[in-house]
Protein backbone atom coordinates (compact mmCIF):
# COMPACT_ATOMS: atom_id res chain seq x y z
CA UNK A 1 0.00 0.00 0.00
CA UNK A 2 1.40 3.36 -1.05
CA UNK A 3 1.13 6.17 1.44
CA UNK A 4 1.92 9.82 1.07
CA UNK A 5 0.93 13.09 2.61
CA UNK A 6 2.05 16.33 4.08
CA UNK A 7 1.87 17.95 7.50
CA UNK A 8 2.98 21.29 8.87
CA UNK A 9 4.97 21.42 12.09
CA UNK A 10 5.14 24.78 13.88
CA UNK A 11 8.94 24.85 14.24
CA UNK A 12 11.99 25.67 12.16
CA UNK A 13 13.35 23.07 9.77
CA UNK A 14 16.41 22.43 11.96
CA UNK A 15 14.26 21.92 15.05
CA UNK A 16 11.71 19.74 13.23
CA UNK A 17 14.50 17.56 11.89
CA UNK A 18 15.96 17.26 15.34
CA UNK A 19 12.58 16.34 16.85
CA UNK A 20 12.08 13.60 14.29
CA UNK A 21 15.47 12.10 15.19
CA UNK A 22 14.87 12.16 18.94
CA UNK A 23 13.81 8.74 20.28
CA UNK A 24 12.04 10.32 23.25
CA UNK A 25 9.94 12.48 20.92
CA UNK A 26 9.23 9.61 18.53
CA UNK A 27 8.05 7.46 21.44
CA UNK A 28 5.74 10.23 22.57
CA UNK A 29 4.25 10.67 19.09
CA UNK A 30 3.73 7.02 18.22
CA UNK A 31 0.32 5.92 19.49
CA UNK A 32 0.47 3.42 22.35
CA UNK A 33 4.26 3.60 22.75
CA UNK A 34 5.97 4.42 26.06
CA UNK A 35 9.61 4.42 25.08
CA UNK A 36 12.13 3.29 22.50
CA UNK A 37 15.09 1.06 23.40
CA UNK A 38 18.25 1.74 21.48
CA UNK A 39 19.57 -1.47 19.93
CA UNK A 40 22.11 0.01 17.50
CA UNK A 41 23.06 3.39 16.09
CA UNK A 42 19.80 4.94 14.79
CA UNK A 43 17.90 1.73 15.47
CA UNK A 44 15.34 1.31 18.21
CA UNK A 45 12.96 -1.33 19.52
CA UNK A 46 9.59 -0.61 20.99
CA UNK A 47 6.32 -2.03 22.24
CA UNK A 48 3.09 -0.54 20.95
CA UNK A 49 -0.31 -1.03 22.50
CA UNK A 50 -2.87 -0.34 19.82
CA UNK A 51 -6.60 -0.08 20.26
CA UNK A 52 -8.76 0.86 17.31
CA UNK A 53 -12.45 0.05 17.38
CA UNK A 54 -12.61 -3.18 19.34
CA UNK A 55 -9.39 -4.36 17.79
CA UNK A 56 -6.56 -4.23 20.23
CA UNK A 57 -3.22 -5.80 20.61
CA UNK A 58 0.35 -5.54 21.65
CA UNK A 59 2.90 -5.10 18.92
CA UNK A 60 6.65 -5.32 19.16
CA UNK A 61 8.44 -3.29 16.59
CA UNK A 62 11.58 -1.69 15.33
CA UNK A 63 12.30 1.76 13.96
CA UNK A 64 15.39 2.61 11.97
CA UNK A 65 16.53 5.97 10.67
CA UNK A 66 18.68 5.99 7.55
CA UNK A 67 20.06 8.19 4.79
CA UNK A 68 20.16 11.19 7.05
CA UNK A 69 20.63 14.44 5.22
CA UNK A 70 19.99 17.10 7.86
CA UNK A 71 17.95 19.19 7.87
CA UNK A 72 16.38 18.15 4.60
CA UNK A 73 15.45 14.52 4.50
CA UNK A 74 15.82 11.05 5.97
CA UNK A 75 14.38 7.61 5.56
CA UNK A 76 12.27 5.95 8.24
CA UNK A 77 11.95 2.18 8.34
CA UNK A 78 9.36 0.62 10.60
CA UNK A 79 8.35 -2.95 11.28
CA UNK A 80 5.93 -4.38 13.76
CA UNK A 81 4.65 -7.79 14.77
CA UNK A 82 1.67 -8.80 16.84
CA UNK A 83 -0.84 -11.60 17.26
CA UNK A 84 -3.24 -10.06 14.78
CA UNK A 85 -0.76 -9.31 12.02
CA UNK A 86 2.42 -7.63 10.97
CA UNK A 87 3.48 -4.53 9.13
CA UNK A 88 6.60 -3.41 7.40
CA UNK A 89 7.02 0.05 6.02
CA UNK A 90 9.52 2.41 4.64
CA UNK A 91 9.16 6.07 3.92
CA UNK A 92 11.13 9.11 2.86
CA UNK A 93 10.52 12.28 4.80
CA UNK A 94 11.26 15.60 3.17
CA UNK A 95 11.35 18.81 5.17
CA UNK A 96 10.62 22.13 3.52
CA UNK A 97 11.21 25.23 5.60
CA UNK A 98 8.49 27.91 5.68
CA UNK A 99 8.51 31.31 7.37
CA UNK A 100 7.97 30.01 10.91
CA UNK A 101 7.03 26.41 10.31
CA UNK A 102 8.13 23.34 8.41
CA UNK A 103 6.25 21.31 5.86
CA UNK A 104 6.98 17.62 6.26
CA UNK A 105 6.22 15.56 3.19
CA UNK A 106 6.21 11.79 3.49
CA UNK A 107 6.03 9.18 0.82
CA UNK A 108 6.38 5.49 1.31
CA UNK A 109 5.22 1.96 0.99
CA UNK A 110 3.65 -0.15 3.72
CA UNK A 111 2.96 -3.85 3.67
CA UNK A 112 0.43 -5.27 6.08
CA UNK A 113 -0.08 -9.01 6.55
CA UNK A 114 -1.74 -11.54 8.79
CA UNK A 115 -5.37 -11.73 9.92
CA UNK A 116 -5.75 -7.97 10.08
CA UNK A 117 -4.84 -7.61 6.39
CA UNK A 118 -6.98 -10.46 5.14
CA UNK A 119 -10.15 -9.32 6.86
CA UNK A 120 -9.52 -5.63 7.36
CA UNK A 121 -8.74 -4.60 3.76
CA UNK A 122 -11.68 -2.21 3.70
CA UNK A 123 -10.19 -0.12 6.47
CA UNK A 124 -6.42 -0.36 6.20
CA UNK A 125 -6.01 2.84 4.21
CA UNK A 126 -8.33 4.91 6.40
CA UNK A 127 -6.88 3.58 9.63
CA UNK A 128 -3.23 4.02 8.64
CA UNK A 129 -3.94 7.62 7.64
CA UNK A 130 -5.52 8.23 11.03
CA UNK A 131 -2.44 6.84 12.83
CA UNK A 132 -0.10 9.04 10.75
CA UNK A 133 -2.31 12.06 11.46
CA UNK A 134 -2.14 11.35 15.20
CA UNK A 135 1.65 11.09 14.98
CA UNK A 136 1.98 14.51 13.36
CA UNK A 137 -0.53 16.09 15.74
CA UNK A 138 1.57 14.91 18.67
CA UNK A 139 4.72 16.10 16.89
CA UNK A 140 3.21 19.55 16.45
CA UNK A 141 2.45 19.56 20.19
CA UNK A 142 6.02 18.51 20.98
CA UNK A 143 7.33 21.30 18.72
CA UNK A 144 5.71 24.06 20.74
CA UNK A 145 6.54 22.61 24.16
Amino acid sequence: MKISGSYTVPASRERTYQLLQDPAVLAKCMPGTDHLDKVAEDEYEMKMKMAIASIGGLFTGKVRLADQNPPESFRLLVEGNGKIGFLKGEGLLNLIGQADSTEVNYKGDVQVGGTIASVGQRLLDTTSRMIIKKFFEKLAEAAVE
Partner: protein, 285 residues
Amino acid sequence: MIAQNFEYSAPTTLVDALRLLSDGDAKALAGGMSLIPLMKLRLATPEQLVDLGRIAGLNYIRQDKDVIRIGATTTHYEVQSSALLRASCPLLVETANHIGDIQVRNRGTMGGSVAHADPAADYPASLLALEARVVLVSAKSEREMPISDFFVDTFTTALEPGELIREVIVPVEDPSAGTSYQKVLQVASGFAIVGIAARIRQSGGTVTFARMGVTGLAGKPYRAINVEQALEGTPGSPADIQKAAALVADGVEANSDLHASAHYRKHLAGVYTMRALAVASARTA
Protein backbone atom coordinates in the same frame (compact mmCIF):
# COMPACT_ATOMS: atom_id res chain seq x y z
CA MET B 1 -12.72 -19.61 14.66
CA ILE B 2 -13.75 -19.60 18.29
CA ALA B 3 -13.28 -16.52 20.43
CA GLN B 4 -10.70 -16.41 23.17
CA ASN B 5 -12.09 -17.07 26.67
CA PHE B 6 -13.82 -14.15 28.25
CA GLU B 7 -16.01 -13.43 31.23
CA TYR B 8 -19.61 -12.63 30.44
CA SER B 9 -22.15 -10.71 32.44
CA ALA B 10 -25.65 -9.62 31.53
CA PRO B 11 -26.77 -6.97 34.00
CA THR B 12 -30.44 -6.01 34.06
CA THR B 13 -29.97 -2.37 35.05
CA LEU B 14 -27.96 0.43 33.49
CA VAL B 15 -26.39 1.23 36.87
CA ASP B 16 -25.00 -2.31 37.16
CA ALA B 17 -23.73 -2.22 33.57
CA LEU B 18 -21.92 1.08 34.14
CA ARG B 19 -20.38 -0.25 37.34
CA LEU B 20 -19.09 -3.36 35.53
CA LEU B 21 -17.70 -1.21 32.72
CA SER B 22 -16.01 1.27 35.03
CA ASP B 23 -13.19 -1.09 35.95
CA GLY B 24 -10.55 -2.19 33.48
CA ASP B 25 -10.83 -3.88 30.14
CA ALA B 26 -14.53 -4.71 30.07
CA LYS B 27 -16.19 -4.18 26.71
CA ALA B 28 -19.85 -3.39 26.16
CA LEU B 29 -21.78 -5.79 23.92
CA ALA B 30 -24.85 -4.40 22.17
CA GLY B 31 -26.10 -6.30 19.10
CA GLY B 32 -22.64 -7.78 18.54
CA MET B 33 -22.79 -7.40 14.76
CA SER B 34 -19.28 -5.92 14.67
CA LEU B 35 -17.77 -7.06 17.95
CA ILE B 36 -18.59 -10.78 17.75
CA PRO B 37 -17.03 -11.33 14.28
CA LEU B 38 -13.91 -9.48 15.48
CA MET B 39 -13.77 -11.70 18.56
CA LYS B 40 -14.19 -14.85 16.50
CA LEU B 41 -11.27 -13.77 14.34
CA ARG B 42 -9.41 -12.99 17.57
CA LEU B 43 -8.81 -9.46 16.39
CA ALA B 44 -10.66 -8.33 19.48
CA THR B 45 -9.85 -10.15 22.71
CA PRO B 46 -11.73 -8.44 25.53
CA GLU B 47 -11.39 -10.13 28.92
CA GLN B 48 -14.87 -9.21 30.01
CA LEU B 49 -18.07 -8.62 28.07
CA VAL B 50 -20.97 -6.68 29.51
CA ASP B 51 -24.09 -7.55 27.55
CA LEU B 52 -26.47 -4.58 27.38
CA GLY B 53 -29.28 -6.64 25.83
CA ARG B 54 -31.12 -7.42 29.08
CA ILE B 55 -31.19 -3.93 30.47
CA ALA B 56 -34.80 -2.87 30.82
CA GLY B 57 -35.61 0.62 29.64
CA LEU B 58 -32.81 1.04 27.11
CA ASN B 59 -34.93 -0.01 24.15
CA TYR B 60 -37.46 2.64 23.14
CA ILE B 61 -38.51 5.10 20.48
CA ARG B 62 -40.62 7.87 21.97
CA GLN B 63 -41.63 11.39 21.16
CA ASP B 64 -40.80 14.10 23.67
CA LYS B 65 -42.31 17.40 22.41
CA ASP B 66 -40.37 18.33 19.26
CA VAL B 67 -37.76 15.56 19.47
CA ILE B 68 -37.74 11.77 19.27
CA ARG B 69 -35.60 9.84 21.73
CA ILE B 70 -34.20 6.49 20.62
CA GLY B 71 -32.77 4.17 23.28
CA ALA B 72 -29.31 2.71 22.64
CA THR B 73 -30.39 -0.93 22.31
CA THR B 74 -33.14 -0.18 19.76
CA THR B 75 -32.45 -2.45 16.80
CA HIS B 76 -32.25 -1.32 13.19
CA TYR B 77 -35.37 -3.38 12.51
CA GLU B 78 -37.24 -1.52 15.23
CA VAL B 79 -36.20 1.79 13.68
CA GLN B 80 -37.16 0.54 10.23
CA SER B 81 -40.62 -0.57 11.36
CA SER B 82 -41.46 2.27 13.76
CA ALA B 83 -44.69 4.03 12.85
CA LEU B 84 -43.63 7.07 14.86
CA LEU B 85 -40.35 7.43 12.97
CA ARG B 86 -42.00 6.71 9.64
CA ALA B 87 -44.34 9.64 10.24
CA SER B 88 -41.96 12.00 12.03
CA CYS B 89 -38.41 11.13 10.96
CA PRO B 90 -38.62 9.21 7.68
CA LEU B 91 -34.94 9.77 6.87
CA LEU B 92 -33.90 7.47 9.70
CA VAL B 93 -36.35 4.77 8.57
CA GLU B 94 -35.02 4.94 5.02
CA THR B 95 -31.45 4.73 6.31
CA ALA B 96 -32.17 1.71 8.54
CA ASN B 97 -33.62 -0.03 5.46
CA HIS B 98 -30.16 0.12 3.90
CA ILE B 99 -28.17 -1.37 6.78
CA GLY B 100 -26.55 -4.77 6.20
CA ASP B 101 -29.05 -7.59 5.78
CA ILE B 102 -32.15 -8.71 7.69
CA GLN B 103 -30.08 -10.67 10.24
CA VAL B 104 -27.92 -7.63 10.97
CA ARG B 105 -30.97 -5.38 11.24
CA ASN B 106 -32.59 -7.80 13.69
CA ARG B 107 -29.62 -7.83 16.05
CA GLY B 108 -27.66 -4.65 15.42
CA THR B 109 -28.51 -1.58 17.49
CA MET B 110 -28.51 2.18 17.10
CA GLY B 111 -26.16 2.67 20.05
CA GLY B 112 -23.80 -0.11 18.99
CA SER B 113 -23.47 1.18 15.45
CA VAL B 114 -22.91 4.77 16.52
CA ALA B 115 -20.41 3.83 19.25
CA HIS B 116 -18.44 1.59 16.89
CA ALA B 117 -18.04 4.56 14.50
CA ASP B 118 -17.23 2.58 11.39
CA PRO B 119 -16.40 5.24 8.77
CA ALA B 120 -18.71 3.50 6.29
CA ALA B 121 -21.71 2.90 8.57
CA ASP B 122 -25.09 4.20 7.34
CA TYR B 123 -26.63 5.93 10.38
CA PRO B 124 -23.92 8.60 10.80
CA ALA B 125 -24.76 10.31 7.48
CA SER B 126 -28.40 10.70 8.47
CA LEU B 127 -27.71 11.58 12.09
CA LEU B 128 -25.41 14.39 10.91
CA ALA B 129 -28.01 15.66 8.45
CA LEU B 130 -30.59 15.51 11.26
CA GLU B 131 -28.26 17.39 13.62
CA ALA B 132 -28.93 14.64 16.14
CA ARG B 133 -27.65 14.67 19.71
CA VAL B 134 -26.30 11.80 21.80
CA VAL B 135 -26.64 11.28 25.53
CA LEU B 136 -23.60 9.62 27.11
CA VAL B 137 -23.63 8.13 30.61
CA SER B 138 -20.98 6.73 32.89
CA ALA B 139 -21.03 5.62 36.53
CA LYS B 140 -20.25 9.19 37.51
CA SER B 141 -21.71 11.51 34.91
CA GLU B 142 -24.18 12.18 32.15
CA ARG B 143 -23.61 14.53 29.22
CA GLU B 144 -25.24 15.41 25.93
CA MET B 145 -23.46 16.52 22.79
CA PRO B 146 -24.13 17.15 19.09
CA ILE B 147 -23.41 14.12 16.93
CA SER B 148 -20.89 16.18 14.93
CA ASP B 149 -18.72 16.43 18.07
CA PHE B 150 -19.20 12.75 18.84
CA PHE B 151 -17.48 11.38 15.72
CA VAL B 152 -13.83 12.26 16.24
CA ASP B 153 -12.09 10.10 13.64
CA THR B 154 -12.06 6.61 12.12
CA PHE B 155 -13.44 4.29 14.84
CA THR B 156 -12.79 7.08 17.31
CA THR B 157 -15.56 8.79 19.25
CA ALA B 158 -15.87 11.17 22.17
CA LEU B 159 -16.79 8.21 24.44
CA GLU B 160 -14.54 8.02 27.48
CA PRO B 161 -13.58 4.64 28.98
CA GLY B 162 -16.52 3.39 31.04
CA GLU B 163 -19.00 5.55 29.15
CA LEU B 164 -22.01 4.31 27.17
CA ILE B 165 -24.47 5.87 24.75
CA ARG B 166 -27.84 5.96 26.48
CA GLU B 167 -29.91 7.49 23.72
CA VAL B 168 -29.86 9.30 20.42
CA ILE B 169 -32.09 12.34 19.98
CA VAL B 170 -33.44 13.37 16.58
CA PRO B 171 -35.78 16.23 15.72
CA VAL B 172 -39.40 15.71 14.67
CA GLU B 173 -39.17 16.46 10.98
CA ASP B 174 -40.94 19.50 9.60
CA PRO B 175 -43.93 18.08 7.65
CA SER B 176 -42.98 20.10 4.57
CA ALA B 177 -39.41 18.76 4.47
CA GLY B 178 -38.17 16.26 1.90
CA THR B 179 -35.49 13.76 2.88
CA SER B 180 -33.53 10.98 1.24
CA TYR B 181 -30.66 8.57 1.88
CA GLN B 182 -28.85 7.31 -1.21
CA LYS B 183 -26.10 4.73 -1.01
CA VAL B 184 -23.62 2.81 -3.13
CA LEU B 185 -23.48 -0.59 -1.51
CA GLN B 186 -20.39 -2.71 -1.09
CA VAL B 187 -22.15 -5.96 -1.78
CA ALA B 188 -20.15 -8.38 0.37
CA SER B 189 -20.24 -6.38 3.60
CA GLY B 190 -23.30 -4.23 3.06
CA PHE B 191 -21.30 -1.19 4.10
CA ALA B 192 -21.52 2.06 2.17
CA ILE B 193 -18.87 2.86 -0.42
CA VAL B 194 -20.54 6.23 -0.19
CA GLY B 195 -23.80 7.11 1.53
CA ILE B 196 -25.48 10.50 1.28
CA ALA B 197 -28.29 11.81 3.46
CA ALA B 198 -30.20 14.92 2.40
CA ARG B 199 -32.87 17.09 4.04
CA ILE B 200 -34.47 19.99 2.23
CA ARG B 201 -37.19 22.55 2.88
CA GLN B 202 -38.58 24.79 0.16
CA SER B 203 -40.79 27.82 0.39
CA GLY B 204 -42.11 30.02 -2.39
CA GLY B 205 -39.86 28.38 -4.97
CA THR B 206 -36.68 28.78 -2.90
CA VAL B 207 -34.65 26.25 -0.94
CA THR B 208 -34.80 27.63 2.60
CA PHE B 209 -33.03 24.81 4.41
CA ALA B 210 -30.57 22.10 3.36
CA ARG B 211 -28.69 19.56 5.48
CA MET B 212 -26.30 16.97 4.04
CA GLY B 213 -24.50 14.08 5.74
CA VAL B 214 -21.83 11.98 4.05
CA THR B 215 -20.53 8.56 5.04
CA GLY B 216 -18.00 6.16 3.49
CA LEU B 217 -16.06 8.84 1.67
CA ALA B 218 -13.63 10.05 4.32
CA GLY B 219 -12.01 8.82 7.53
CA LYS B 220 -15.07 9.95 9.42
CA PRO B 221 -18.62 10.90 8.45
CA TYR B 222 -19.13 14.62 7.94
CA ARG B 223 -21.71 17.28 7.16
CA ALA B 224 -21.24 18.78 3.70
CA ILE B 225 -21.86 22.36 4.81
CA ASN B 226 -20.53 23.81 1.54
CA VAL B 227 -23.22 21.91 -0.39
CA GLU B 228 -25.89 23.14 2.02
CA GLN B 229 -24.80 26.75 1.65
CA ALA B 230 -24.54 26.53 -2.13
CA LEU B 231 -28.11 25.28 -2.32
CA GLU B 232 -29.88 27.45 0.24
CA GLY B 233 -31.40 30.54 -1.33
CA THR B 234 -31.50 29.05 -4.84
CA PRO B 235 -34.65 27.78 -6.57
CA GLY B 236 -33.22 24.23 -6.24
CA SER B 237 -33.40 23.58 -9.96
CA PRO B 238 -31.55 20.56 -11.42
CA ALA B 239 -28.76 22.96 -12.41
CA ASP B 240 -28.58 24.37 -8.86
CA ILE B 241 -28.46 20.83 -7.45
CA GLN B 242 -25.72 19.84 -9.87
CA LYS B 243 -23.65 22.87 -8.98
CA ALA B 244 -24.03 22.34 -5.23
CA ALA B 245 -23.44 18.57 -5.42
CA ALA B 246 -20.12 19.12 -7.19
CA LEU B 247 -18.78 20.57 -3.92
CA VAL B 248 -19.45 17.50 -1.75
CA ALA B 249 -15.90 16.11 -1.80
CA ASP B 250 -14.08 19.46 -1.87
CA GLY B 251 -11.02 19.38 0.35
CA VAL B 252 -11.82 15.86 1.53
CA GLU B 253 -9.13 13.21 1.68
CA ALA B 254 -11.12 10.29 0.27
CA ASN B 255 -10.72 6.66 1.31
CA SER B 256 -9.28 4.17 -1.08
CA ASP B 257 -9.54 0.39 -0.99
CA LEU B 258 -9.88 -2.51 -3.38
CA HIS B 259 -13.59 -1.74 -3.88
CA ALA B 260 -13.20 1.89 -4.90
CA SER B 261 -10.27 4.23 -5.40
CA ALA B 262 -10.28 7.68 -3.82
CA HIS B 263 -10.94 9.26 -7.22
CA TYR B 264 -13.89 6.99 -7.98
CA ARG B 265 -15.33 7.48 -4.49
CA LYS B 266 -15.27 11.25 -4.96
CA HIS B 267 -17.01 10.87 -8.30
CA LEU B 268 -19.67 8.62 -6.76
CA ALA B 269 -20.17 11.11 -3.92
CA GLY B 270 -20.97 13.84 -6.44
CA VAL B 271 -23.42 11.68 -8.37
CA TYR B 272 -25.17 10.35 -5.27
CA THR B 273 -25.39 13.80 -3.72
CA MET B 274 -27.26 14.90 -6.85
CA ARG B 275 -29.59 11.91 -6.58
CA ALA B 276 -30.21 12.39 -2.86
CA LEU B 277 -30.98 16.07 -3.41
CA ALA B 278 -33.24 15.38 -6.37
CA VAL B 279 -35.24 12.77 -4.45
CA ALA B 280 -35.43 14.91 -1.30
CA SER B 281 -36.51 17.89 -3.36
CA ALA B 282 -39.28 15.90 -5.05
CA ARG B 283 -40.51 14.82 -1.62
CA THR B 284 -40.89 18.34 -0.24
CA ALA B 285 -44.44 19.52 0.32
